[in-house]
Symmetry: C2
DNA sequence: ATCTGATCAGGCAGCGCTGTCAATTCTCTG
DNA sequence: CAGAGAATTGACAGCGCTGCCTGATCAGAT
């Protein structure tokens, strides 16, 4: 038994020596020969503050974390020492012991180019960043456009870098494996965008597109448009389909044509409109399922010398920044993207604190401008 | 050897005393109530892997970090155990012991709205994100538009959340306190954008705007434009001033007028152009120091029923995504923003690894499209 | 004067990992 | 076949912090 302990005893020595030494150096700033400064010391630690204040590190910790049972006098001494030393608690040590990093990942499930192609993404990033900062959390930004990136995201999350995840995904599928992982870890996740193909235990913040789209359909009918087409990206997925259905419902008659596109981009909108015009459907109005598509469509119409809305009326969806920059300004359906981002943050923070995150649906509304 | 141990034995006394003491209190408690961890264990740890592989945690660590002195057989055993347990090293523990987080902050020194207002910012974010991911680093996204946010950034950095900082700032001043902090901490920082007002020990990645702007000036002269004005944001700062100077040099004659704006936005460009037109300078050509300003200027010109470039030629600066989306497409000066972001990441990573980050300058070139 | 309970402060284990060093085993030599 | 050296592994301190537990202190009550 004693033999067994021998090894430990040896090390205990240096430890005792260290404590002894620290106490001394607190009294007089003599030599500072730590037993083995293997790595350079990083900065002011809680121990330094404790030395200056003449208390133990436990007390400093108690003051910093606003725990009870610290006398006002001691508290003041510690605060003063913190001020004097310029101490900031080491986030890494804190993260280790607290099992919490105070940061949240924002995973963009698309190529990063989407960030300036689609103002919605930038807006979500902006609002999420702001909301997290307000809650004193930091934002880790990741993209997950392809499998390699998804792997990276997965290992990032498994490594415990973040307390929760905000997942912003376009309607494309391909994220199922990542969603599976997120679902399987007990890590709070909030997704925004389109409803899931299959039910999931992941909270979803999405917009109720139907009312706005239906109102837009009624607006088209009221304006007296006779032959209407739609340009729709990701036509196979649930969200876009719902938009078109609600629009058609409001319109009260069948669509002349439905032109699909691969993504939400201005170029795709241009191309789709061009092919609609080429097909000579004799349309007088078009609903594009995003403002970017609509902006492209407007360009295509004007490139042929036609006028919007007189020759062809065009409406978009999103009410993003581009909606007021087109000529004419876009009639569109307002989607509360900022509110979505804020709700995502609120839900994920709640989930981190233990309350289950809940799925929420936010309303949309028709914004009539000049293009339709 | 035995002599050496003797010294230890001396200290062994105090240790034994301590042990005795502990034992006593354990007896008083009647039971050993503390072998179990107090917090729930978080997941698979290196200890679990070691147990499965039948080796010590040190050996597992050595295998994972690809250190020498591990026999092939043991290595295989450990790898197998890692596979079987699905172990991923805890990033937080690693960060603490390594004094390194493997993440880098991207600080946007502007309101987050800039992100979709100015494509440059989004592009930098995109490229930095990509480059960091490729280097297996994560990106913490922060904004520092006002003092409150700068304080947040400062304490974030002091807390040791990141190993380095990428600072993306518009020409505005107001960041001096933050730059002071960054400079004072021995933390690698790379800034992009305009040269510093005062010399700093911070690496800077910026573009050499002069060649492109001068070429643009020559192009204006070659086109036969007679009366040229400029629209310039942040006219007091070094970068914009250099652009205008180089442009004027290429032009070979004085500017008719210099219209200042507060920021780089389409709206400001519109307003500046409108006021230029109102002032009846009889100009036939305008150089705006960013594509966004130029895009706004084009709108303003066309809103008055004038044609670009026939009535008034307009050129921009940046060659951002918007340059090809205006009608007509913008003649502009290409700024290698993606390359800037990549250089920033390269420099900051080098600096983290000990090499001093160096200031770099990247070239610009004239892109002639239709607007001038 | 002693006991009791409420406060307050200190001590220390331990979060999960890495780096150092000692211990152990294996391989050659002379 | 001992002894030196090389290869391999184990042990454990410690990164900086928090949380539990214990000890000390001080009123107020007995």
């Amino acid at each position: 038994m004693a033999q067994n302990r021998l090894g430990s005893n040896f090390h205990q020595v240096s430890r005792d020596a260290r404590v002894h030494h620290t106490d001394r150096s607190a009294m007089a700033d003599q030599e500072y020969s730590r037993p083995r400064p293997r790595r350079r010391r990083e900065g002011i630690t809680i121990q330094d503050v404790a030395n200056v204040a003449g208390v133990s590190i436990g007390t400093v910790s108690r003051v910093l974390n606003d725990r009870n049972w610290v006398s006002p006098a001691t508290r003041e001494k510690v605060m003063e020492a913190v001020r004097k030393t310029g101490f900031t608690a080491n986030a890494r040590a804190r993260a280790l012991v607290m099992q919490r990093t105070n940061s949240v990942a924002l995973v963009l499930g698309a190529a990063p180019t989407a960030l300036f192609e689609d103002p919605n993404y930038a807006l979500i990033l902006q609002e999420a960043s702001r909301a997290l900062a307000a809650a004193n959390r930091s934002l880790a930004f990741l993209t997950a456009a392809d499998d390699a990136e998804r792997d990276r995201v997965a290992s990032f999350i498994r490594a415990g870098h973040v307390d929760g995840v905000l997942f912003v995904s376009p309607a494309e599928s391909g994220h199922d494996s990542l969603l599976d992982l997120l679902e399987s870890r007990a890590l709070p996740v909030v997704v925004c965008g389109n409803p899931f193909a299959e039910p999931r235990r992941i909270a979803l913040i999405h917009t109720d597109d139907a009312p706005g789209c239906e109102a837009l359909g009624r607006h088209f009918r009221d304006q007296g448009y006779q032959r209407t087409a739609v340009i729709v990206a990701y036509p196979g997925t649930l969200g876009p389909r719902q938009r078109v259905e609600a629009f058609t419902r409001g319109l009260g008659r069948d669509l002349v044509h439905c032109e699909p596109t691969a993504r939400y981009s201005q170029e795709e909108g241009y191309a789709a409109m061009a092919s609609l015009l080429d097909a000579e459907h004799e349309i007088d109005s078009v609903f594009a399922t995003s403002d970017l598509l609509a902006a492209g469509a407007i360009e295509a119409v004007r490139a042929r010398g036609l006028e919007v809305p007189d020759d062809i009326a065009i409406a978009g969806f999103d009410d993003s920044a581009i909606a007021t920059r087109t000529t004419p300004a876009l009639t569109t359906v307002h989607q509360p993207v900022a509110a979505v981002a804020q709700a995502m943050v609120r839900e994920v923070l709640q989930a981190i604190d233990g309350t289950e995150a809940t799925t929420r649906m936010l309303p949309t509304e028709l914004i009539v401008r000049e293009s339709a």
